[in-house]
């Protein structure tokens, strides 16, 4: 059996899969290189509702890899991304929070999501968000990322079920630094992994 984890839907089943995604609600924390790209992939995949959170504004340097445009520099990322996603599909429901997410607000903002995507930049924030989600949103799958920087092999970026409700995307070790900057291509690979693992979880296939 060549594809044991990828049952191919019959044509009449495809509509049912799209309907399932359409009734789904996904949270994305951080709307930078990972989160902004995860958001458009989930929008195109037909996810019905996205809960989007970031505290930042679009910077000119973000255009190297994030889903924003030159005329959006200076705008809040939540507002700019809303405009961009609506240009893909007017039907998608968006709940936007211009806020830094931490233990004090994560459960209020993301209560009821089917999957939570961790897409923040700092290692400390990644650990804090996974811990807070595990404590306050029990049973909600978390798709996180760690190790996406530099020009290493695309094939070192993988998705693994790490522990509990946590799935982890990345090569686990490539930390962003002056010597290992973020490249649009490798970040997009990781974003694609996160978006696709999210789709699989929504469709009931938790195997990475």
């Amino acid at each position: 059996m060549p594809y044991p984890t990828h049952p191919v839907p019959a044509p009449d089943e495809y509509a049912a899969l799209r309907a399932r995604l359409g009734s789904s609600r996904v949270g994305v924390i951080g709307l930078g290189g990972l989160g902004s790209n995860v958001a458009w992939m989930l929008a195109r995949a037909g996810v019905g509702t996205l809960v989007l959170a970031d505290h930042d504004v679009v910077d000119a340097s973000n255009l190297e890899r994030q889903f924003y445009f030159a005329d959006q520099v200076g705008r809040e990322k939540t507002a700019a991304l809303t405009d961009n996603l609506r240009r893909i599909t007017a039907e998608i429901r968006l709940e936007c929070f211009q806020a830094h997410i931490d233990q004090s607000n994560i459960s209020r903002i993301f209560e009821g999501v089917d999957v939570l995507v961790e897409a923040v930049d700092s290692a400390g924030d990644k650990a804090m968000i996974v811990a807070a989600a595990s404590e306050q949103l029990p049973g909600v799958p978390i798709v996180a990322a760690s190790g996406i920087a530099g020009y290493g092999s695309p094939n070192d970026i993988i998705t693994r079920h790490l522990m509990g409700d946590v799935w982890m995307v990345g090569d686990l070790v490539s930390e962003v630094s002056a010597e290992h900057p973020l490249f649009a291509s490798r970040v997009a690979i990781a974003a694609g992994h996160q978006a696709h693992m999210t789709v699989r979880l929504l469709l009931g296939y938790p195997q990475a």
Binding site: S134, P138, G147, M163
Partner: protein, 84 residues
């Protein structure tokens, strides 16, 4: 008591040596004998793990350093790195 210790990414080099009876096991997990009531923080200190952010789970749920471990627990520690 005995727990299972799983360390990920660059932390795998801090795993205690495998015992002769441990079998093939996993490359990132080992059984570890500890005094009853040992806390997560005490295990981290005993392993002399490097300072830095950590995702720490016991039996699939986040656990603080003050959490007291019990026989048969699975302690998993993952060190996230920056980039997003």
């Amino acid at each position: 008591m005995q727990i299972e210790l799983a360390l990920f990414a660059h932390l795998t080099s801090y795993l205690p040596p495998a015992g002769a009876d441990d079998g093939p096991g996993s490359s990132h997990a080992r059984p570890m004998d500890l005094p009853d009531g040992t806390t997560v923080g005490q295990v981290i200190a005993r392993l002399d793990l490097p300072v830095g952010p950590r995702i720490v789970f016991v039996n699939g749920r986040h656990a603080p350093d003050s959490h007291s471990l019990a026989n048969g627990d699975r302690l998993a520690i993952f060190p996230p790195v920056a980039g997003g």
